[in-house]
Point group: C2
Chain length 438, copies 2
């Protein structure tokens, strides 16, 4: 007797993301109750299951949904503001003044809705976010049916969201409590950066993260300026300061880590830390090139982030995968560094491990949530295709993503978003903000 099943996906190639770097041809993925129940040859699947729905993906790669480990989703409303400026001028002259004037609960909700739609369209199923009004971000991700880890941001400066560190903690934790039953949402503690958070707040962040068993999400070692400032103010480079304050550990996700000395890479590795590499943002702001090969060689877990739309200006992990591979090659002078498969791993399983979701998502294996995306390799500019792994990194655009599922629920079908909120509503909200900000 065939087993009942919610959904059966037949794909030309299935890329489970495993140790063997398997590329399974003509395989099927069986999904029930939002979870993957089996990965098996298509012929066997047809005999074993009686599926409520079958999706044929005859020219497609079926792979885990991509995981964006660093974003400020709501900043999508500030896309392209202050281009061609270095980080500190960009923040001080372009971004912060606009944020002080415009950021609000509705700004964050509308901006995050737009960002979530952009990310889902491009195969991203999980976002590790950091911004103000975390409850509004939670509402937006929940409404789009996108998995997210939302940062409880902490900064010493007043913003429209909170006035001092104590209030950032208090209000953030209250939002977390309110959203604790949302199945796709989690929270992290997100002290903004070494230059914007005090020692006391950093220590409080570390102990809270330990108590709540969640990750610490922090910008660190992004620019030389940040390091010089820290040496002046604390007599220590930021990472050493963080180490002394007890922040480093397996739940620590350091964003950027562009400027690292060898002993700092060792420090990250020894504490089993993770790093979110944001190549496009680092290039656009001229921050520098993160030593990805050296970090990986030392055993540091490295994943990929888009950063916010104001410094990128795309929430596109296909772009970041290609960029990470190219940048690692040219910066080391070694074309064999970061081959295609290792980049796919950074955007999936390594990313999941970096944000505490390694057992839940990041690969296609029985028991995990069915967060998946299908990439269509049949169009003209994908031809010829000798190796689908190479094509995913070096050829495919995010527009090749044809289908997306989160927890077994369809979010994109044949390139069309299937969200609770429709495009017309998203575009209307965007127009209001664009007029106001312009």
């Amino acid at each position: 007797m065939p087993e009942n099943l919610d959904l059966l996906l037949h794909a030309r190639w299935v890329l489970p993301i495993d140790e063997k770097e398997s590329v399974l041809e003509h395989h099927a993925v069986a999904i029930h109750g939002g979870r993957i129940v089996a990965v098996l040859p298509q012929d066997q699947a047809r005999h074993r299951y009686h599926p409520a729905r079958v999706v044929e993906l005859p020219d497609h790669v079926l792979m885990p949904g991509l995981i964006n480990t660093h974003a400020h989703a709501a900043m999508t409303l500030l896309k392209g503001i202050g281009d061609d400026l270095p980080l500190m001028r960009w923040l001080e002259e372009a971004i912060w003044p606009v944020e002080q004037r415009h950021v609000s609960e509705s700004f964050v909700r509308d901006g995050t809705l737009l960002a979530a739609a952009e990310m889902l369209r491009g195969g991203i199923t999980t976002c590790n976010d950091m911004y103000f009004f975390p409850g509004a971000a939670a509402e937006a991700f929940d409404r789009c049916g996108m998995r997210a880890v939302i940062g409880i941001v902490v900064v010493e400066a007043p913003t429209p969201w909170a006035t001092d560190a104590d209030e950032y903690f208090r209000k953030g934790l209250a939002e977390r409590a309110q959203w604790r039953h949302a199945p796709l949402l989690g929270f992290s503690i997100a002290p903004h950066a070494p230059y914007s958070v005090s020692n006391a707040s950093l220590e409080r962040a570390a102990s809270l993260a330990a108590e709540l068993d969640c990750s610490l999400h922090v910008h660190i070692h992004e620019t030389k300026h940040e390091i010089e400032q820290s040496l002046k103010q604390y007599g220590l480079r930021p990472l050493e300061r963080f180490a002394r304050l007890g922040l480093l550990g397996p739940n620590f996700l350091g964003v950027h880590c562009v400027h690292l000395e060898p002993h700092e890479i060792e420090l990250l590795a020894r504490h089993n830390c993770s790093v979110a590499h944001c190549p496009t943002s680092n290039m656009k702001l001229a921050s520098g090139i993160a030593p990805v090969r050296a970090m990986q060689a030392a055993g540091v877990r490295v994943s990929l982030g888009t950063d916010g739309s104001a410094s990128n200006n795309r929430l596109d992990l296909f772009g970041e995968m290609r960029q990470a591979a190219l940048l690692a090659k040219v910066s080391t002078g070694d074309a064999t560094v970061l081959p295609a498969y290792s980049v796919l791993r950074m955007a999936t399983q390594e990313a999941a491990d970096s944000i505490g979701l390694g057992n839940e998502v990041g690969s296609i294996e029985p028991g995990k949530a069915a967060d998946l995306c299908a990439v269509d390799l049949s169009t003209l500019d994908m031809q010829p295709c000798y190796d689908p792994v190479s094509h995913l990194v070096y050829v495919a655009d995010r527009q090749q993503v044809s289908h997306v599922w989160v927890g077994g629920e369809s979010r994109l079908e044949r390139g069309v978003l299937k969200l609770q909120i429709d495009n017309t509503e998203l575009l209307a909200a965007n127009r209001v903000w664009q007029t106001r900000i312009q």
Copy 2:
């Protein structure tokens, strides 16, 4: 009385590419006999003309078609072969053996057809190409209605196309004579590279180019290895050797120019040479980062090339524009280098000037050929848009290209190719080659 007109395009923004960096809102471009006859406000255009056809582009940027100044179009059939290898191993172990076995007249024709379709789909209207069987390439570009300058390649080694330099010259010139009446085609003299062409052949190339008034298209200073080899063999770095042989001049287009000493940049500037910058290829092969800012500051004309699909793996100038801007910023540590508009100029007017077509294409102005592309900024992931110039470089994908015209003839309409050859035929030919090469 309104004037008769073939075609009138109404666009939200027209980007003519001029000294003032104009962005014209709600303007029209009038086209007759394949040429631009006027750029004017839409209201005026409606009164002045009686057009046979009107195209409304209400959310689009209308700009000059992009110009790819370095490609090996037919190599599209080798896309993804030998990824993650450095240049010399990539050439010697992956590319050259496959080329010796498979390259033929039909390989070049079919590969160039596929490449031309990919380029036109992505807004590229002119390709400066270099490969074997130039007649087969000419046939393919002509059939697709794409403008091209086809290199008469010269190399000392035997290939399926010719056995020695003399035969390369002779056969190439014969092809040129045969295609001399094709309105969209031109030819260049293309000695392959310093390490593959003798002094005698280089001198012959230079005098031929002068005699025929065409450009010289040559790979140069791509890798450190190439320079070391030249020092060993000739006691000179390649550029100095070329200078002594009389190759440098306004018609000289040096491809790559990754490794340059300051006096070499001066040498290029003094001779009014052009450089084709191929950022993705240089990154993927770990060749290095070309000093674009320094070259431009010295007055060297720099344009953009995709290189061949085997080292990129995309023929996508939107990708190369973004990559050039990002790479220049991170490599100089200055986020203000290569702002968006200057990159657009590199991919249009500077490119046209680099290949001898500066009076024919590269900008939208009366008298020039109507080689245009329209980019749709209305989709979700293009929102919000505060500045269309920024969006073209930092946000838009080639898939946003909705319409393309070459010499006033439509080649792409609402994202669908309008070629003499249809997609089914292109895909069928590709499948034959893929099976054979695999």
